[in-house]
């Protein structure tokens, strides 16, 4: 295509985008002269250039629109009707431009419909002070594009001159207008243009924009530049390598400078690829305005973080999904003003868009304060489409149901409107986002609104990454997920411990699962001796924290993430690859993938969902880390890893027998050793493995024969046990495994173990809220209650529990500890009873001492039952009774 024409099309398109936005603003602030001047100037420029390039259809349209705007400038009120008409005109101009771009000449057609409308309004609002422009529509009919192009083709003026003239057109409209005359097939039209165009203010404005500080560069040129810079970096590195071999080379100084300049150049070129997300939002105000008119709603569009930069490729890809979602919010999300008023909300609905960087991710949120998602409709639709069975659907939480909107072909709009609900919906949005490796999530509260969160990770964006080494290769770990770096040494506080073949790190009283990167990646040499030294990159994926053991840590580097080749995309531990400053390609580790490969299935999404909703179901579904061991018999036994403070192997000779009990000196205290049964033998020599449990300053150790493994399993106790000390049996790794009840053994060591504090448990036939300030006992009681068939939600503070209850969550039974900081069990019960809606919730208190005083106080505050802490049968019985009562009520 003609360069000149090409440039015109690009430029005009951009001007029109601005006009769109400005017009909407103008409608809201009709008295803002500045906005109007700006619009006027832009439209005028378009018109002038069209005339110059012999594009009569465009010119006629621009002219008619300009005339109308001229009226506004003269003080006529800007009516909605007029603005809509101008917007429609702008749209038509865009259509013609599109055709112009592809066909290189103006498409055939008539715009007399719009033009006569425009003229009608001009007449309406104007006192007949300026005559309506001569009939353009006639011109259009007679002129064919071939005819139009002819004046340009013969080359009476050189292209250079033309271009120069063109440039000047932007700067000064009057020049354009003058130049226009001789070359124009319909010269009369320029007259009205000049009338208005010669007004002083717009001219000044134009002069300003003409000297603006940016130029247009094609994307290809940038890509080319990027490639060249990479080459330059490579060459520089080769030079550096050569100079390194010659000790005192005179090249050293200049080369260093070259090196620095190259680095800066690289950075600069990379920056050119970044664009503010506001570019993708530009069209939204117009869209929202049109929608609001069409749907008879009042909508405010708020935009925050428009300056957030992201890679232009990503920008292109999210543009359409964003538009679609905003449309959705306006159409489905927001209610009509009448409905809103009825619901006690302001008549004006609000759609809020925000974007920000979070670590290496870009987070985009689209929220509205509308009616929220229609859970029941989504549910029935999901069932109708066979996405879920009716039974299963009943068990799903609201948030889980909401996620069905992302399923292919899902659209809930019963009425197909002009705006949305045409069967293509969120599934398409999700597809687009998937393509760039992003995630999308939805949160919705009925009556309060819905909020969509899009997270675009690494891909294509520039992120900060930690460069690490494993088996001689370098890898990048996104800084976003890195919590801290730990140097593990054999004899330091942070040391790698091993449970069979599973390595763990004890970090600030927590056992952290470890994954050796070389092993995960299959790079372990055959003679892989497990080393205890190493760098541990502690990463967090959702709510899960684990350590990645690497051989070395280099530095942090800003990397441009490139998507993996389609042949390598199936490797889940990599999220992409990148070219480092020295020109080599390295893989980017996906912590999510690592988490999965070490046996956890807690994906970020699930974890996020867990955070968002204190969902009982999900909590019970959650995977539990279990330590599998043998003690006394060949049958495998297991205990939740979270309960164990430490794993020890002690020299059997250090075990002392005191008062008939086994003891060992441990960290300056005597620690009692407990045997699960008489079958368990305490070794006389060699290493004795122990599971150490601590609470505060007290520790006890359970004697075991052998530690087998650590596994991640859903703790699903299938057979309850009659044996004391065993909660029940569960299938772990295909083997029936006894889950031991730590709580049973603890009092064996310290009679007063449970007397220090009163602890409470809540169990419900359906659901139980358990409040206890000690995580140890929460972890311990949860499986006990689960074994008895309850769904358990445990909380660490009475205050939190109260908040949850007040927020409307209902439990069949509440079990509370009595002795807790801030608010104790008695106060908690009183607070619960004072809420009228909570009056009937049964509360069970657990205590190790059931004194008459405590019983009496308990009755006063409204405890339904009072159970001794380790009377398991009693607790279960009480729960059953109360839950039944609660349900009856």
């Amino acid at each position: 295509m003609d360069d000149l024409l090409q440039e015109f099309v690009t430029e005009t398109n951009e001007s029109l985008d601005v006009v769109d936005v400005e017009l909407v603003r103008f409608e809201q602030e009709p008295n803002n002269k500045k906005i109007l001047d700006n619009i006027f100037r832009l439209v005028h420029t378009i018109k002038g250039t069209c005339g110059f390039l012999s594009l009569p259809r465009l010119e006629a349209l621009a002219h008619a629109a300009e005339t109308l705007m001229g009226k506004f400038r003269d003080g006529a009120p800007a009516t909605g009707e007029a603005v809509t008409l101008i917007l429609a005109t702008i749209d038509r101009i865009k259509e013609i431009l599109d055709a112009l771009e592809s066909k290189q000449h103006e498409p055939e057609g008539s715009d007399s419909d719009l033009i006569s409308e425009l003229e009608r309004i001009v007449k309406q609002i104007a006192q007949p002070l300026s005559a309506p422009p001569p009939a353009q529509s006639q011109t259009i009919g007679t002129l064919t594009p071939q005819v139009l192009e002819r004046p340009l083709r013969p080359g009476e003026v050189s292209l250079d001159e033309l271009e120069r003239a063109f440039r000047e057109t932007e700067v000064d409209p009057s020049v354009a207008a003058v130049l226009t005359k001789p070359s124009k097939p319909a010269p009369r039209e320029s007259a009205p243009a000049r009338e208005t165009g010669n007004n002083a203010p717009p001219k000044d404005e134009e002069a300003k924009s003409g000297s603006s500080q940016s130029i247009r560069v094609t994307v290809d040129t940038l890509e080319q530049l990027m490639t060249m810079v990479s080459e330059l970096v490579l060459t520089r590195n080769q030079l550096l390598e050569i100079v390194r071999r010659h000790e005192d080379s005179e090249f050293k100084g200049p080369l260093q400078r070259l090196s620095n300049v190259t680095a800066e150049l690289q950075e600069g070129v990379m920056k050119t690829r970044m664009q503010p997300i506001g570019n993708a939002w530009q069209k939204l105000p117009r869209i929202v305005r049109d929608l609001a008119n069409e749907l008879g709603k009042e909508i405010d569009l708020e935009m925050h973080g428009a300056e957030t930069e992201l890679d232009r490729q990503v920008l292109d890809l999210i543009k359409d999904p964003l538009t679609h979602m905003v449309r959705n919010s306006a159409d489905h999300g927001l209610e009509s003003p009448a409905d809103r008023r009825a619901a006690g909300k302001p008549a004006r609905g609000r759609i809020r868009l925000s974007a920000y960087h979070e670590g290496g991710q870009i987070v985009i949120e689209i929220s509205d304060d509308g009616r929220g998602l229609n859970t029941s409709r989504i549910k029935s639709k999901a069932i109708a489409q066979g996405l879920v069975s009716a039974d299963e659907a009943e068990k799903l939480s609201e948030a889980q149901i909401h996620k069905f909107i992302f399923a292919p072909g899902f659209s809930t709009a019963t009425q197909i409107t002009n705006v949305s609900g045409r069967g293509v919906g969120m599934d398409v949005v999700r597809n687009n986002i998937d393509q760039i490796g992003g995630t999308i999530d939805v949160k919705s509260v009925a009556g309060m609104g819905a909020s969509f969160t899009i997270k675009i990770p690494l891909t294509l964006a520039i992120v900060s990454a930690l460069i690490v080494e494993a088996a001689g290769d370098r890898f990048a770990i996104p800084q976003l997920s890195v919590k801290e770096l730990v140097r593990a040494r054999g004899n330091s506080e942070n040391r790698i411990e091993r449970i069979k073949n599973t390595a763990v790190l004890r970090l600030r009283d927590k056992l952290l699962p470890l994954a050796r990167l070389t092993k995960v990646l299959g790079l372990e040499p055959a003679d892989a001796g497990e080393k205890d030294d190493g760098f541990i990159v502690v990463v967090q994926v959702g709510t899960q924290t684990f350590g990645i053991v690497v051989d070395g840590v280099f530095h942090t580097e800003e990397i441009v993430v490139k998507p993996m080749s389609s042949k390598l995309r199936n490797i889940s531990v990599f999220s992409g690859n990148t070219i480092l400053g020295d020109g080599s390609v390295i893989m980017i580790i996906d912590p999510n993938g690592i988490a999965q490969s070490i046996g956890s299935t807690v994906s970020t999404q699930v974890a996020a969902a867990n955070e968002a909703e204190t969902d009982t179901k999900r909590e019970t579904d959650r995977m539990t880390s279990l330590l599998v061991f043998r003690a006394g018999s060949a049958q495998a036994k297991a205990v939740p890893l979270g309960l164990i403070t430490r794993l020890e192997e002690i020299d059997a000779r250090k075990i002392e027998l005191s008062n008939g009990r086994h003891m060992v000196q441990y960290r300056n205290h005597l620690m009692p050793l407990i045997r699960m049964s008489d079958d368990v033998r305490v070794k006389g020599e060699g290493a004795q493995p122990l599971l150490v449990f601590s609470d505060g300053a007290r520790s006890i150790a359970l004697v075991v024969d052998e530690i087998v493994d650590i596994v991640e399993e859903r703790l699903d106790i299938q057979v309850a046990s009659e044996n004391s000390g065993i909660i029940g049996s569960a299938v772990i790794r295909g083997q029936a495994t006894e889950i031991i009840d730590v709580g049973h053994f603890l009092p064996a060591a310290f009679e007063d173990w449970f007397r220090q504090k009163d602890r409470s448990d809540a169990a419900k036939a359906k659901s139980v809220l358990l409040i206890d300030d000690s995580p140890f006992f929460r972890d311990m009681l949860t499986p006990v209650l689960q074994a008895a068939g309850y769904e358990v939600t445990s909380l660490g503070a009475a205050k939190d529990a109260l908040a949850v209850l007040k927020a409307g969550r209902r439990f069949d039974v509440v079990i509370t500890d009595i002795d807790m900081p801030e608010m104790d069990g008695f106060q908690f019960a009183e607070a619960v009873r004072s809420e009228s809606s909570l009056k009937l919730v049964p509360i069970i208190a657990l205590s190790s001492i059931v004194s008459p005083e405590a019983l009496e106080r308990g009755q006063q505050v409204g405890f339904h039952d009072y159970v001794a802490k380790f009377d398991r049968q009693g607790l279960i019985a009480a729960l059953k009774e109360q839950a039944d009562v609660g349900q009856a009520a």
């Binding site: 490639t227 390598l568 531990v573």
Partner: protein
């Protein structure tokens, strides 16, 4: 002159002592692979990735892809750059030979007893003086099968 329309040009390459031909139109460039980064957990046919003028190129080891025995001779290896669906690939070969113009009509279908791994990517055979030239189909070489299924 009339023969021209039946002529195809091939870049010849040696892999494990066998001569192969790649249609010249599908070849972007020929380069010496440098700083190849291996990709853990990838399929055995994938030798690694490298940076070629700012693009990340996936390098496929033709020896392994064609099911040929033995190791590459010591010293230099070469790579033939091809493109497919916007992605760049490098085919790792032992050495690159001359460009041949061959008559399509002389091309024979591959013998039925050809090694199945070879047969899958073979588009025909040319009998040259003293040796056979196996014509390769680039698209089929890049179709690594299991990976795309796993993806």
């Amino acid at each position: 002159m009339t023969n021209d329309e039946h002529l195809s040009e091939y870049i010849t390459a040696m892999v494990g002592g066998q001569m192969f031909g790649l249609p010249i139109l599908s070849v972007q460039d020929v380069f010496v692979p440098d700083r190849l980064t291996r990709v853990p957990l990838s399929q055995p046919e994938i030798a690694g990735v490298l940076n070629l003028r700012g693009r990340i190129v996936t390098v496929i080891d033709m020896r392994s892809r064609l099911g040929l025995e033995g190791k590459a001779p010591d010293g230099q290896v070469m790579a033939i750059g091809v493109e497919s669906r916007g992605e760049s690939y490098g085919l790792l070969i032992d050495s690159v030979g001359e460009v041949l113009k061959l008559d399509d009509r002389a091309r024979e279908t591959s013998p039925i007893n050809l090694d199945p791994r070879l047969a899958r990517v073979c588009a025909g055979i040319h009998r040259l003086e003293g040796q056979l030239l196996v014509v390769l189909d680039v698209d089929r070489i890049l179709d690594l099968g299991p990976a795309s299924m796993a993806a």
